[in-house]
């Protein structure tokens, strides 16, 4: 009884309900939605599509969760997506052996290492210069697309490289390779932050940077780490996106993915005010967004109109999370703190 009554206040309750509701809606519209077939030894079906197309959002949202947990935000992920795709595709296109595994690995390595530099740059601005995260990352968001276009010289670079195509469109063990990559990164992040003290330190920095510094937490290194990790995740997402279409488009790749990622994080119950975060919540949030996109397709509405639905979801979720509504819902609690917070 108690368990049932306490369910709605659990952190992940509403996100899971939303996801299930979306699934139910999809099944109602097209009954074959949940069906997963095996064709050529690979798994096929709408659910698998959601997994595959959702991988970039999951990756970017994963990095974003840790950044937001430190009370920051990373607007530059879309630009990093474009840069890493542009870099990898340009290297492969310029090489003499585009189909060689070595070439592809080298190209990916260069893209990922460069993303570490970009992440370190964001971290430098936030942790050392003390610039507000939204502004600091705005710089790379603006300049980043320019850098990506500089790399591709304004062209859309198309490549034909079988090993590179595997990253975004291929299959390993019957599952889409992209989702396996995303799962590995997710497991890595979960292990590092939940099985070591790192997660605790990140939350401490998010709740009160000054207090955590006085308590001996190396806040600077922590902030630096999360921005580098966020850029790395974005770069992997960039490889997946460009590999899926075997082309690097500096203008359109990763456009608005930062918004999707922030949305996924917020839906997953991580507070934008920093502190508590939930990686599982982010995962569910990313699936909700991807399912929403797929749903809009299945129902037969033009894909672009998804933006309207996303907007409505953001508004609904934000209103549910807002301090005012929370107070109303937990009216039994003493409300002394509210007056202080509101003023």
């Amino acid at each position: 009884m108690n368990v049932i009554r306490s369910l709605p206040s659990r952190q992940l309750f509403w996100p899971v309900v939303t996801l299930v509701a979306l699934f139910v809606l999809n099944v109602a519209v097209s009954p074959s939605f949940l069906a997963v077939r095996v064709r050529d030894g690979h798994l096929f079906g709408s659910l698998i599509d959601i997994l595959r197309n959702g991988a970039p959002i999951i990756l970017v949202a994963l990095g974003m969760t840790l950044v937001i947990a430190t009370r920051g935000i990373d607007l530059s992920v879309g630009a990093v997506v474009a840069i890493s795709g542009a870099l990898a595709c340009t290297i492969i296109a310029d090489s003499s052996d585009p189909n060689g595994l070595g070439t592809v690995l080298a190209a990916c390595a260069v893209a990922l290492v460069f993303s570490l530099v970009l992440g370190a740059w964001n971290g430098l601005l936030v942790a050392v210069f003390g610039i507000q995260p939204i502004i600091a990352t705005l710089i790379l968001m603006t300049a980043g697309r320019g850098i990506a276009m500089l790399i591709t010289e304004g062209q859309i670079i198309t490549i034909s490289s079988a090993p590179y195509k595997t990253i975004g469109a291929g299959y390993w063990f019957g599952l889409p390779a992209s989702i396996i990559i995303a799962a590995v990164m997710f497991a890595l992040a979960a292990l590092l932050t939940r099985k070591t003290a790192l997660g605790l330190l990140i939350e401490a920095v998010g709740i009160n940077p000054e207090a955590s510094r006085l308590a001996g937490v190396r806040a600077r290194s922590i902030i630096w780490t999360v921005y580098v990790f966020s850029a790395l995740c974005a770069a992997i997402a960039g490889l997946i996106i460009s590999s899926n279409v075997t082309a690097a488009d500096a203008n359109r790749a990763g456009l608005w993915i930062e918004m999707d990622a922030i949305l996924a994080v917020v839906i997953g119950g991580t507070s934008l005010a920093g502190g508590r975060y939930s990686l599982t919540g982010t995962l569910i949030g990313a699936f909700i967004i991807q399912t929403l996109t797929t749903t809009v397709y299945t129902i037969g509405i033009a894909a672009e109109i998804t933006l309207v639905f996303k907007a409505l979801v953001v508004i609904a979720v934000c209103l549910l999370q807002s301090p005012v509504v929370r107070e109303r819902m937990h009216a039994r609690r003493p409300t002394i703190t509210r007056k202080v917070a509101a003023s």
Binding site: Q132, R145, L255, M259, E304, I305, L307, A311
Partner: protein, 334 residues
């Protein structure tokens, strides 16, 4: 602030006399930058130092000037409005689709302005009454406005209305060989109104007070709630005007137009010396900021061999410089 009384002669006092610590520092820096960039352009390219090149800065950026004025109000209160680019796109779509259906231009413009202001009002109400961060609330408006564009039409709609084409093509002569477009007059009017409202009205003072400290402003009995909502209405209204000016410029409505224009507006305001934490800044600074962005584009087009993506990189670099400058200035004030 740190206005040291005259008789106190300390090393710091003597030193700071040579470093301009006044609130005009960042704006002056922008002005100097603008003059230097113009000088560089004039010395490098033949035909750069002409009156028409300067006037074209206004002609080509009239919509951005209007956007920057609205954004200045929002940023002065310590907020941010990410929805302006989408609202511009929505305005062009509404204007294009309604004129296609044969509506009267005056009615069309009225509707566009009402829609822009209403979106701003809704955003402001959500931000204020639900205490949602401006960044997230305006993000939602951004999605919503962009989505509504697609609801109107997925394709670009061209505008053939005679009045709109007249506004797009007419040029007002200022002197022999020097002309401006009607949009420039509207943009300049918006700047003047913005300037007067910010510096000579109660509302303007309240805007500054909220940016300085919302808590103190409330304790002083200023109408904080109303003003906080009002700035988003102003920003929405300015975005709608900018959208109308943009249709004069492009004579079409397109859903994907003005992507990233919010970043240009924010960049212009920041380069113009407005503090992103709120409380300090000037509308005229934002105007200078827009002109700096415009002159970067002019130099790049005069250079010819440089590609357009350099614009983004240079704007990013300038943003960095000005934000670090702001950081140093505020650090000293404390």
């Amino acid at each position: 602030m740190t206005s040291t009384p005259a008789p106190v002669i300390s090393v710091r006092g003597r030193f700071s006399r040579f470093i301009p610590t006044s609130r005009y520092t960042s704006v002056l820096a922008t002005l100097v930058l603008l003059v230097i960039m113009f000088g560089v352009g004039a010395s490098r390219y033949r035909g750069f130092a002409s009156g028409q090149v300067v006037l074209n800065l206004f002609v080509d950026n009239a919509f951005l000037i209007v956007l920057a004025v609205g954004m200045t109000f929002v940023i002065l209160t310590g907020g941010i409005d990410l929805s302006v680019g989408s609202v511009v796109a929505l305005s062009t779509m509404i204007a294009a689709s309604l004129t296609r259906d044969g509506w009267n231009p005056a009615a069309v413009i009225l509707i566009v302005l009402v829609v822009g202001s209403t979106l701003g009002l809704l955003t402001g109400l959500v931000i204020h009454y639900f205490q949602i961060q401006p960044f997230i609330a305006t993000l939602a408006t951004m999605f919503l406005a962009r989505g509504l564009c697609y609801v109107i039409s997925l394709d670009s709609i061209s505008i053939t209305d005679p009045w709109f084409t007249a506004m797009a093509q007419s040029r007002i002569p200022l002197a022999p060989g020097l002309t401006i477009s009607p949009s420039v007059i509207i943009a300049v009017l918006v700047v003047i109104i913005g300037f007067v409202v910010l510096h000579f009205t109660r509302t303007g003072r309240t805007v500054y007070a909220i940016g300085g400290s919302g808590q103190s402003a409330m304790l002083m009995g200023l109408p904080v709630s109303r003003t906080k909502v009002l700035v988003y209405v102003i920003s929405g209204f300015c975005s709608a005007i900018a959208g109308v000016l943009f249709t004069f410029y492009t004579l079409s409505g397109y859903s994907l137009t003005a992507v990233g224009m919010e970043l240009d507006a924010i960049a212009a305001v920041v380069i113009g010396g407005t503090l992103l934490t709120g409380g300090y800044g000037f509308v005229l600074g934002s105007l200078l900021g827009v002109l700096v962005l415009g002159i970067i584009q002019t130099i790049i087009s005069f250079e010819g061999t440089l590609s357009s993506w350099w614009t983004k990189i240079v704007i990013g670099a300038l943003l960095l410089v000005f934000i670090v400058l702001q950081r140093l200035l505020t650090a000293r004030r404390r």
